[in-house]
Symmetry: C2
Subunit: 400 residues, 2 copies
């Protein structure tokens, strides 16, 4: 039975936390001096474990196991959101280091810019699976300050370096450990989540065309109030979606804009950003059909025509059942009754790596569900337990 | 029977239309060179009618009848909204001139800045009834470009001039003729509206406090979605208000702001601007009670507390029944069956003048209901008919 060195694992995490420290969190935007310092620090840790460490032309840090296979790939990202938490990303990378230290035949990856500081997002994992073109790199700019990605790469000393690709057939699977970024585990007193899949986001824009008029001179019967038509459709979604959704579906209206937005003017147009998420394509399709039916109904009832536009239609990443089973068994062995299966509502590098090999994820609780904020935290004992569950699962999967 | 000179009335209107002409409308913001040109042009017209013309320290132009009473006051405003219509305001002023030309004992007023180019609004009519302080003039600035009102008055040559007050007991009543700014008359093929009152606007702000969260990591059950609570309350208002409103009530949600307004973030707060209007205080109070009950219900059902703040609570101006009766009779005489009583959904100078004397208004149709836009228009025959109805009503009221 493989045993991680929990003390060393936590010590590594706390040492990494010092690089770019901000309050109790860290500020390590992609390719900043702090981010690059953390990448070089990581390469030293990888070498300590006996791995062959390298950094590639998009900033991916990779630790390659020198011994014979079968191998696993373990990792996540090491940069942070701005002024954000110390565990988001870093936890999955250092869990890989912990598994390597424990003697498991793992390659460890820190994928660059999962956090999307640069346009495009997921640059590192997408590059490694062959999904990032040079043209996209040429175009991409920092969302923080507009710096071209090429300039940022040059400033980080990465210009001209080759971009590495995953070696076909080398890995039996990919494991990513991550904080939950929600309160489902904490709320139920659970300590481990076995991720079933990473939800796809289907993002929509709904526009209503009415007629701008004076709020005093126009009777209720005469009005074409685009805002009111929007409210009615959103209320209908609120009524209908709980009946057609899956058990873990979410749907969100993030923005409602009424034009011109003045107190005494009947809105001439309304613009709504609406999205839903699920891990199941049939559930996503059912919600789409429900949405389209409600928009059609709105267009039959209302004086303000609604136009539905799909902004994004991603494919959910389903976690590998055999890998999930190893996590289930390891979780039950180390934390009997204190774990559950759950989808990931947020995106992760695993969703791209899953295109090339079996992939799965393990979650540990987030205190108060705080995420993308410097106050993000997880109890040391949950970090250690999660890493041990991961190691046991990996050992089992390698042997299977 | 008094008879207006319709040809002359229309010729006056079309001559005034040339000052600040913009497309088929006019651009005469308060105290602009075009506005001041129109005021001086008006003073010449008033003198032509034998009235004693003056302009006061806030820009009011006044034509005082030199003969014995009883007198009537007739008027409106002469400045326009930006790039707006040729009749809004100008019609009521030139109707006064037409009545004076027809020999009726009327004083004619053009009240400054009914359109509210400067903060405060209704400066002229409020000044004339003693409702505008020097301190408010000191504070007020242009909503167009921030120019202090004092500077604008000085540039218009009005600095240091006294502000005139209405002479107590001089007037038997005030008549204001105006375009409808809606389509109720046009829609029913009617040619005259006798105004029953000017609605009061009760303006509200409703704020919802939720919790900003990641739209992926937070289950539907865990959410405190301020935007959703807002949509539910607005949908409840949409259901409930038609049952409690008066026959001519209006209610309008002019703005819905969700914070932060991003596609993947559950809104942490929502801010709604909501208003209702009616001419009847009991109806306004019933709608207020309905709104308060719905907010209370929202606060019992929802996880996001709603706070209701009243931004304005005006008093409706009721038109004088005896003056209305003269308009009813004159309308029936000149346009049998082609007129109706109706409230004014928009504000007018009459609502302030009504505090000092009996007041009433007559509406003529707006083509397509277009208002506050250069395309605003009314048929010449409707303008002439409305002015004749007004003259006949005024004659009758003076005799009564």
């Amino acid at each position: 039975m493989v045993q991680i060195n929990a003390e060393r694992f936590l010590a590594d995490l706390h040492e990494l936390r010092k690089i770019g420290a901000y309050k109790t969190g860290v500020h390590r935007p992609t390719f900043s001096p702090q981010d690059m310092e953390s990448r070089h620090w990581l390469m030293e840790r990888l070498r300590e474990c006996g791995l062959e460490a390298s950094i590639d032309g998009i900033g991916n840090v990779y630790g390659r196991h020198k011994g014979p296979g079968p191998h696993l790939l373990v990792g996540s990202h090491i940069e942070s959101q701005n002024y954000a938490g110390w565990l988001d990303g870093a936890l999955g990378v250092m869990a890989g280091v912990a598994l390597a230290r424990a003697g498991l035949p793992v390659d460890v990856a820190a994928f660059a810019d999962e956090e999307g500081h640069f346009e495009g997002g997921f640059l590192g994992s997408r590059s490694m699976i062959g999904d990032l073109t040079e043209a996209e790199i040429d175009r991409s700019r920092s969302r923080n300050d507009g710096t071209p990605l090429r300039d940022a790469l040059a400033a980080a000393g990465l210009a001209g370096k080759p971009r590495m690709q995953l070696e076909p057939g080398r890995h039996k699977g990919f494991y990513e450990m991550h904080i939950e970024q929600g309160t489902q585990l904490e709320g139920q007193g659970l300590r481990v989540g076995v991720v079933t899949g990473i939800v796809a986001i289907w993002q929509w824009r709904i526009q209503f065309q009415g007629q701008q008029d004076h709020a005093g001179g126009t009777t209720m019967a005469e009005r074409k109030d685009a805002g009111l038509s929007a409210v009615r459709l959103l209320a209908a979604i609120d009524q209908e979606f709980p009946r057609i959704c899956g058990p873990r579906s979410t749907w969100t209206t993030g923005r409602i804009s009424l034009d011109p937005g003045a107190p005494s003017i009947i809105p001439g147009s309304a613009d709504v950003l609406f999205q839903f998420r699920d891990v199941s394509v049939p559930v996503l399709e059912r919600m789409e059909a429900g949405l389209r039916a409600l928009v059609q109904e709105s267009n039959r009832r209302e004086k303000c025509p609604a136009t539905l536009t799909q902004m994004s239609r991603a494919t959910p990443a389903i976690c590998d059942p055999a890998m999930m089973a190893t996590l289930d068994q390891a979780a039950e062995a180390h934390a009997p009754g204190l774990w559950q299966q759950m989808p990931s509502g947020a995106g992760h590098d695993a969703q791209y790596i899953a295109r090339l090999m079996p992939a799965s994820m393990i979650f540990v609780p987030s205190i108060g569900g705080i995420s993308h904020h410097w106050a993000e935290d997880t109890k040391d004992e949950d970090l250690a337990l999660g890493c041990q569950v991961l190691a046991s699962a990996a050992e089992k999967f390698l042997a299977g």
